[in-house]
């Protein structure tokens, strides 16, 4: 689910841009460590593969078809660091070339699909892929990567004050469950086929965490994602928070439509504050990106 610009409220998209920058910075560092002598082109070409794979339909039944989203598959083959970078790059290109998702909302989409999606897909595989529950781990990875991304997106929309009744959230949740199941099934099928071609293409996690712990962590991710969806469906789930973050100023303007003259100065101050805050936010995000980048470079060369 690519969120376009103009839907999320300012605090939500700004905060998520700030959150995405260090997450991606860390992934860059992780990926550089994990790849031997800069196999950097691997990331790019596999990004092209995922992009292409998203265009290939799988028959699902009932005359419909689904397609791979690929976050979990990439994490299981190239590692989570590389997967985060690849998915971020894909999101940037989708926003620029195909207007899939907005630019200010890029941080939100990256947090949902690149960060949450990859880690929620990687952890079950990492913890379960060595024992008899291997297939379960792969399926759970694909399933949870989609479900967790979707839950995060719904949460962000709710926090932005987009009104949604429990019925709407309920129906969307069903759609998400179906999409997540399809992603899990495709991930299992494709990963097993890739493994038959060349087992060396898969990440084989080192060390064996206990099966119980693996199941527990997987269940925890599931519960958190489902919990977020459920809470979003509650009528008063996020209303007060949403009020503060997004809709507060909007309500005022909606219901006090023709502005009394004496309020104008207040509003000028209000909007200019917002604009300044927005620009300052951009500057801040930029500053954080640069600082994190510098730090990473310094650490790497040290």
């Amino acid at each position: 689910m690519h969120i376009p610009d103009g839907i999320l409220s300012v605090p939500v998209w700004a905060a998520l841009n700030v959150a995405a920058a260090p997450g991606i910075g860390l992934a860059v560092r992780r990926a550089k460590k994990g790849l031997s002598e800069g196999q950097a082109p691997l990331l790019g070409v596999m990004g092209a593969f995922v992009f292409a794979a998203q265009c290939m339909n799988f028959p699902v039944g009932f005359g419909t078809s689904g397609h791979l989203l690929g976050g979990a598959l990439l994490a299981m083959t190239l590692g989570p660091g590389a997967a985060v970078i690849i998915l971020t790059a894909i999101l940037i290109l989708q926003a620029l070339l195909f207007q899939d998702g907005g630019l200010l909302a890029l941080g939100a989409n990256a947090v949902n699909m690149a960060l949450i999606g990859v880690w929620a897909g990687w952890i079950p595989y990492r913890m379960l892929s060595q024992g008899p529950l291997r297939t379960v781990g792969i399926f759970a990875g694909g399933f949870l990567s989609v479900l967790a991304s979707a839950a995060a997106a719904i949460l962000e929309l709710r926090l932005s004050g987009v009104p949604m009744s429990s019925a709407v959230v309920g129906v969307s949740s069903l759609v998400f469950l179906a999409t997540a199941t399809i992603e899990g099934l495709i991930t299992v099928a494709v990963l097993q086929a890739v493994e038959r071609l060349n087992p060396g293409w898969l990440r084989q996690p080192r060390g064996t965490p206990g099966r119980a712990a693996g199941l527990l962590v997987t269940a925890a991710i599931l519960i958190v994602a489902a919990g977020v969806l459920y809470a979003s469906a509650l009528p008063d789930g996020f209303e007060s928070l949403a009020h503060q973050l997004g809709i507060a100023s909007r309500e005022r303007t909606i219901w006090n439509a023709p502005l009394p003259d004496y309020e104008a100065p207040f509003f000028v101050a209000e909007w200019s504050k917002k604009a300044v805050a927005g620009l300052a936010g951009l500057g801040l995000i930029y500053g954080i990106c640069m600082t994190v980048g510098r730090l990473l470079i310094r650490q790497r060369s040290a």
Binding site: G44, A52, A53, C55, Q99, V168, M290
Partner: protein, 251 residues
């Protein structure tokens, strides 16, 4: 296959980006900054009514006029984002009964998308990626972006050829009970495409190493940021601020 439509869509952008207008000639970094300022101005305007966005629409129209891009096609390109805000506009209309707010949400999304199309229509993608690099994006991320752009069509074409080959051997539709085999074939095809991409990456890596690549990607330093580009960014800021002021006056 969606790939075909997408290929046409991005070809059109490339064609536009080869133009030569005031906007085309600006430094990519200046244009990215200008776009972000514009988007912030749009985003911080509360969706009180669709009319509130008239000033930013005028700023966009001025930009479009300077760029010389064709309005109907730019409008059509940006329209691909509409399903999402339409859905949410509709939902919020049902929930709150407030049609003005719903319409404003849709307009706000659409204007943002129009601005992105305008940027892409006046900036060749390679230049834009250099611009990201110049603004401090991690080198690895920019390189990944470049190679995705470079190899996307090649991989998509490979996928299409495999699909065609499969279709040639497929006499008529398979009966429903053979659906598992259809599924296996699809996943097998994706796995082969995965492998081909992996091998392609190895070939590319070898070619890079043969030309002196040692793990760190070097790019030429971006061209000098000229005073005209500074003026452009200042102009964008003024236009955005002006538009925000007008929105207030209008409402």
């Amino acid at each position: 296959m969606r790939g075909d439509a997408r290929r046409l869509a991005s070809l059109r952008l490339e064609e536009w980006a080869r133009g030569d207008s005031y906007l085309h000639r600006r430094d990519a970094r200046a244009k990215i900054a200008g776009l972000l300022i514009f988007l912030v101005a749009v985003s911080t305007t509360p969706p009180s009514s669709p009319g509130a966005y008239l000033p930013v629409v005028l700023v966009f129209a001025a930009g479009l006029a300077i760029s010389g891009l064709p309005l109907p096609q730019v409008a059509a390109r940006a329209a691909v984002i509409l399903p999402f805000p339409l859905l949410f506009g509709f939902v919020s209309w049902l929930e709150s009964g407030n049609a003005t707010f719903a319409a404003a949400l849709i307009v706000r999304s659409y204007v943002s998308a129009l601005a992105v199309v305008l940027l892409m229509g006046v900036t060749p993608l390679p230049e834009l990626l250099h611009g990201f690099r110049g603004l401090g994006a991690p080198a690895l991320l920019v390189m990944v972006l470049q190679s995705i752009v470079r190899y996307l069509q090649l991989v998509v074409d490979h996928g299409l050829r495999m699909r065609r080959a499969a279709a040639c051997r497929d006499a008529g539709g398979l009966p429903a009970r053979n659906r598992p085999s259809l599924w296996r074939r699809s996943s097998g095809a994706l796995a082969v495409l995965f492998g081909r991409s992996y091998e392609r990456a190895e070939g590319v890596h070898r070619a890079m190493v043969a030309r002196g690549f040692r793990g760190d990607f070097l790019a030429p330093r971006p061209s000098r940021f000229q005073w005209q580009d500074g003026v452009f960014v200042a102009g964008c800021t003024l236009a955005a601020v002006g538009a925000r002021l007008c929105m207030r006056v209008l409402s």
